[in-house]
């Protein structure tokens, strides 16, 4: 697992999974469609990505589909870094 995937995954687990929850979350685990992250709390994740990677994610791109797995999030962040 590369560094960015590890960082985002760690944030997602810390931010969205309760300590007493025995759920296993990996980089391909669906986040939005499974209900781990909802559209309201997604804002925390978006702000984290913008703060950590110095990018701005427009709402049109920060969609539930793009945010559905850590892998797809990393893909989105990389695309923005490449275009910066």
């Amino acid at each position: 697992m590369d560094e960015m995937t590890a960082t985002v995954l760690e944030y997602v687990i810390d931010e969205y999974v309760d300590e007493d929850d025995d759920m296993e979350v990996v980089s391909s685990t669906p986040l939005i469609s499974s209900g781990i992250v909802d559209s309201f709390s997604m804002v925390s994740l978006k702000a984290f990505l913008e703060r950590t990677y110095g990018i701005t994610l427009p709402d049109s791109e920060a969609t539930p589909e793009a945010f559905d797995t850590v892998d797809s999030i990393v893909h989105l962040v990389r695309a923005h870094q490449a275009n910066a």
């Binding site: 969205y16 309760d18 499974s34 209900g35 909802d38 309201f40 709390s41 804002v43 925390s44 702000a47």
Partner: protein, 415 residues
């Protein structure tokens, strides 16, 4: 044609998708006044059946209380039916002012402003008070109307894990640089029936100079020693900056809501909140009846105490019967099924037993956390509560969930 066949088919397809996902809300008609025992037409067109109602927000049993009904009649005679105006033009009567003052006294705040509903209060309060330099930090399970209000407001927002004070602290630290911070929480969360730890939230608010907004819709009238709400329960009267609440649940159950709290913030709502500015307020008849409701609630704790006794009786009974329930102290008792179909199947069988309850599943509650939500009322008699418990025991037996914990139910039915 403005509504062509192609357009009609588009919307019909959307409705079919809702059906296919099992999320379609069926029509249910009540053919009697609201109460412990009601006459129900369900499904639509079916013969009327009598059922005990365990899914209303009629916590204090005031929805059809004779003194409230009489006050409504008197209000209709004295002040008429409608106002045909928003509040700030010619839609404010003396009884609106009186009701606001009584709510201020009841909630222990500085000022109150009526809204057409608490949904409207929540939709308008944030935009009226906060700006882009401010941040809202909200519990993740707050009511949908608060979410909508937050989204309508230019302030930044962030969320914290449900009732997780360590996480809230972290977020307050993260946002220490903002002009103001506002913590937002429900008092009693409507789906789980759990109480926000308001004492800890108040302490964090003081430590980090953060205001607190409390939606106490499922608490006003019965939580706390004299029913003032969650802030009374946690000895925090006077420490909450904004309270939004409803007259549409325990406090008479018709409609109407309010923003109550710091005088400057309430005045900002009067000046700027769009649902207040651009919609008629409560009708005179509801306003007059609500004044009677507050008289009743503030003169005795009898109904609140009866609700508490009914809640205890049900919680003890249902636990002894071996159903899986979320522990707590409020009259909202989720009987957990985890599986959505099981919730709906059991609710349907409960109705056949003469008990009106509803199954809730994703997206109303988190995925894999389906349940039947039971709501107690002061209108229930002990025998009503016992009949509900007995029906759950019978239906639970049929589905083989008696004595099963979360793991056992999920193993049997899946999530």
């Amino acid at each position: 044609m403005a509504f062509s066949d192609a357009t009609r088919s588009l919307f019909a397809g959307t409705l079919q998708e809702i059906q296919d996902k099992g999320l379609f809300k069926e029509k249910r008609f009540i053919r009697s006044p609201q109460g412990a025992e009601i006459e129900v037409e369900y499904p639509e067109g079916a013969a009327t059946a009598r059922a005990l109602n365990f899914c209303a927000n009629n916590y204090l049993g005031l929805s059809n209380h004779p003194e409230v009904v009489a006050a409504a009649h008197a209000g209709l005679d004295a002040r008429g039916y409608g106002m045909s105006s928003v509040r700030f033009i010619c839609g404010t009567q003396d009884i609106h002012r009186e009701l606001q003052d009584r709510l201020t006294e009841f909630l222990g705040t500085e000022a109150t402003l009526l809204f057409p509903s608490c949904l409207d209060a929540n939709a308008g309060v944030f935009e009226a008070v906060l700006g882009a330099e401010d941040v809202i930090i909200a519990d993740r399970l707050i009511h949908a109307s608060l979410v909508d209000g937050i989204r309508l407001c230019p302030a930044q927002y962030d969320t914290f894990k449900h009732m997780d004070m360590k996480h809230l602290r972290k977020k307050l630290e993260l946002h220490a640089d903002k002009r103001t911070r506002m913590i937002v929480t429900d008092g009693v969360f409507s789906m789980d029936g759990d109480l926000a730890p308001l004492d800890e939230i108040v302490a964090l608010g003081e430590e980090f100079d953060a205001m607190i907004l409390l939606d106490d819709s499922h608490a006003s009238g019965f939580i706390g020693r004299t029913g003032r709400g969650t802030h009374e329960h946690f000895d925090a009267i006077g420490k909450i900056d904004l309270i939004t609440t409803t007259l549409g649940k325990a406090l008479g159950g018709a409609s109407g809501g309010c923003v109550s709290g710091r005088a400057e913030l309430v005045e900002l709502c009067r000046q700027k909140a769009r649902p207040y500015l651009f919609s008629n307020s409560l009708s005179p008849v509801i306003t007059a009846a609500s004044l009677k409701v507050l008289d009743l609630v503030m003169s005795t704790t009898e109904r609140r105490d009866k609700l508490e006794a009914n809640t205890l009786r049900f919680r003890q009974g249902i636990t002894a019967a071996g159903l899986n329930v979320r522990e707590g102290v409020t009259p909202i008792v989720p009987v957990m099924t985890y599986n959505a179909k099981l919730a709906n199947d059991m609710a349907r069988d409960m109705y056949a037993e003469g008990i009106y309850v509803i199954g809730f599943s994703f997206p109303v509650v988190p995925a894999g956390a389906a349940r039947i939500r039971v709501q107690l009322s002061a209108a229930h008699e002990p025998e009503h509560v016992d009949r509900c418990v007995a029906a759950f025991a019978k239906v639970g037996e049929k589905y083989g969930v008696i004595g099963l914990d979360k793991k056992g139910i999920i193993e049997k039915y899946g999530m």
